[in-house]
Symmetry: C2
Subunit: 498 residues, 2 copies
């Protein structure tokens, strides 16, 4: 225990590593080495053989730490599951991370191979490659490891493994049973998950779920996220003449599908970005306590707007966190005829809008899609779920084909949940800093099935830096965030709940 | 003269060729042979060598008929000019046709080579290839010649050449001086024409212009067109965040360029297709006499709507011909983000609409573009003519980049013009049928420079069938239309004006 207290003393000193804590140093170094090894196994979510090689590596690494592990077959890629030996009297924590990564285009990276980790320091605006042995005497927290999945999401997995080692070295008796589920299709929307969670629900049984994915708040402060928005999509297609027609011969005569689509889309939102569809925001109330929590997030509107290069944001909420409490309605794509050099003087045959809707717990995806369809019908459209035939076209003036995407619903754990309070307290104590509490984040983590099936509270405890270039070329992980991750995992797994 | 009268007697019998008129038969056959030869020289408007080979062929063919011809250099491809020896006491007719053709994609044609004319008969719904020698005993007017530019616009050129032969054979003394200008960039919008007409204005001097391009009215009746709409274009681009942003992180916060564009476009037209921009239709009045002329065109709305597969047309005019008397506003292309399989959950960086506007004489292109820009400004947009910088984006909420296309203005010759009356009378007499008089056609023929520079009345006298697949695969010319063309040219060039 003494050792642990000593570690905490070191940790509370913040991001600078104390000279006298060789243990943390050692396990950061171990993490760096092991992460290089792990990243070197490509993990393209689209490549079955890649995924299997990662599963093999993980089995070895978890088993070495005393976990019992299983490869769980699903309708898609297999899941990786591991658990430390269980004791009946302890609460169980289930960690969710993922082993798959986004595809890479090596030509867009500033290094030869995105799967060969490169160490870099920043010199002014330039990143400069450094030899790994220069870390021996100077474990610089601002230097970064560049490579696919260093942050998303292999880094946190390796941080957890090394924290287990450190806890063992310090003979810490864990106050929790520990289960770990590693998704292998997170970057492909985790389609096999709902059925797999049903099938393996006894195996996954736990008291709470901790998701270690995504970045900490941009301020760099310790962060607990209580929920995330869901998502669903709609594809809307309107129709003009059966084939593209000469805009001279039929301009002013054949209806233009682009104008029909523009008029429909324009009817859905006001100039400030508020959705005008009946009932779209129903059931959402933000009481003063909630507003206080949202306002406490240290966002800087000037920085956000500068990064986006916008003068004024949409006005669904009066500030960033408030805007995330509402479902969104986004035109993610538009297409009709041709633009640019290929533009031709035609009245196009059709016009298509791709819509995505980010969901909140009050707005179930199926319900929202229903409201949108009702709205479209009220605008005088005849709704079809397939391409209209010539007969359909001649029977109706305004036809629209609506194709519905699948629904991933939102989740949001109560801000007063005991496990949430525990996580916040641990992080606060570990880092001697206020914890950023995010009621709901904008993006979507596909862990809905765990929550709906296991009926347990879920929290996202991110470990990596906000500027990690997730999903993009030059993905990276700050070495300081490895220290952060080990400290955070150590705190969670060594602190008994009251 | 006797011979000519005999020919007229034959002509007035309509589309069936009289057994006793071997002359017409002979010259139709000559036309078919010569057209095969001409079409065999590819004429892709984008290929300089193609165009030159056509100019060489034309020089030979016109000179054989006693024309003096010249290749006239321009800022682009050279023009072909030819004139029969001039007599001072005769009025001069200037024929305009074009020698260039649209590019071909041979894989989309139902014949091996679009430049090798194929003869086909229709068997039910199927086209069946026929040997050319089967024409010797049966010059079937419903059979067709398939090949690039058979109709657009090499067919009419060869019809004119063979009419000259027939007139000569019959010793007809022409009551007109005849000039011919053949454009070599019509399919590329005749960009060199304005300057060339200025430069060669003395050479082109004439009393009236007859354009033999485009098809006769869909009814197949003799047709005179008094004008055509002009065209100009606008490209409109609206902006969201500087780079595409994650629709989860920033949905409800970063403005969406697709909604901005949709709202703008929706403000431009009502649900019936009428333009709502102030002043767009100013100056256009259709008096009862004009309305009568428009109504006399034997259009069949049911057929048109069936061909387009639409239930109700736009309501700018109450019928097809009326709608063409007004300028149009057409969205010919839309693009933002990605659609279909490539769709991604992003807020796009920008959204673009390609607009074309067909012009009428009352609506000068520059004036109309000004009205549209004024309207856009009134919708609260900050208008730029280039990509906005980061500073521009942070200084203005709604930015739009407007790129203006060049203007080809409309022309419309008075319906009471003496040369127009002459053409109508000749056609009426030649075919013993009412002539379809079209006040203005929807499409654009780029002969504006002739009219503005030479200040002469212009008429389109089309020669080919309406269903000729102009610009598309399987372009074709009905053999009956060769008879039509020779009769029409013969009538025009053999009838003295009163």
């Amino acid at each position: 225990m003494k050792k642990i207290v000593a570690l905490f003393l070191v940790l509370t000193s913040g991001y600078a590593i104390a000279q006298d804590d060789d243990d943390l140093k050692t396990y950061i170094s171990h993490t760096i080495n092991e992460l290089q090894e792990f990243v070197a196994i490509p993990n393209d979510a689209l490549d079955h053989a890649d995924i299997n090689r990662n599963l093999t590596w993980l089995t070895k690494k978890f088993n070495e730490r005393g976990f019992n592990s299983s490869i769980l077959p699903t309708t898609g890629e297999s899941l990786f599951f591991a658990a430390l030996p269980m004791e009946d009297n302890k609460p169980t924590i289930l960690f969710y991370m993922h082993l798959d990564g986004q595809s890479v285009d090596p030509t867009k990276w500033d290094q030869p191979n995105p799967y060969h980790v490169v160490l870099k320091s920043k010199d002014g605006d330039q990143w400069k490659t450094q030899p790994f042995d220069s870390l021996t005497n100077n474990l610089n927290y601002d230097w970064r490891l560049f490579g696919r999945s260093t942050s998303d999401d292999k880094g946190p997995i390796v941080m957890l493994l090394n924290t287990i080692d450190l806890l063992k070295k310090n003979n810490v008796s864990l106050p929790f049973n520990v289960k770990v589920i590693l998704d292998s299709e997170e970057e492909k929307s985790s389609k096999p998950l709902p059925q797999a969670v049903k099938e393996y629900r006894d195996l996954f049984k736990a008291d709470f779920l901790v998701i270690n994915d995504g970045p900490v708040h941009v301020s760099g402060k310790p962060t607990v996220v209580y929920g995330c928005r869901g998502i669903t999509t709609l594809t809307l297609t309107t129709y003009g003449p059966l084939k593209p027609q000469h805009s001279g011969h039929y301009g002013n005569y054949a209806p233009n599908p682009g104008f029909q689509l523009a008029q429909l889309l324009a009817s859905m939102k006001d100039a400030n970005g508020k959705v005008l569809i009946n009932g779209y925001y129903d059931g959402i109330t933000l009481d003063p306590t909630t507003m206080e929590i949202l306002k406490n997030v240290p966002d800087d509107a000037t920085t956000i707007n500068n990064n986006l290069s916008i003068k004024t944001p949409e006005q669904v909420g009066s500030f960033y966190q408030e805007s995330l409490q509402y479902p969104s309605l986004n035109i993610r794509g538009l297409s009709s005829g041709w633009v640019g050099e290929k533009a031709r003087t035609i009245i196009p045959e059709s016009a298509t809008a791709e819509i995505d809707m980010r969901l909140v717990p009050e707005s179930d995806g199926t319900k929202l899609k229903g409201l949108v369809k009702k709205h479209i019908e009220n605008q005088g459209f005849y709704i079809m779920d397939k391409l209209p035939s010539k007969e359909d076209r001649m029977a109706h003036d305004k036809i629209i084909t609506i194709t519905e995407g699948s629904v991933t619903n939102a989740f949001r754990t109560d801000l007063n949940n005991a496990y949430g309070n525990f996580l916040v307290d641990v992080l606060k104590e570990s880092f001697a800093e206020d914890v950023v509490q995010i009621r709901i984040m904008g993006g979507t983590v596909p862990i809905g099935p765990f929550i709906s099936e296991l009926k347990i509270p879920a929290f996202i405890v991110p470990m990596v830096n906000a500027d990690n270039n997730q999903h993009s070329p030059n993905e990276n992980l700050k070495i300081g965030q490895i220290a952060y991750g080990i400290k955070a995992f150590y705190g969670i797994l060594s602190t008994p709940m009251d």
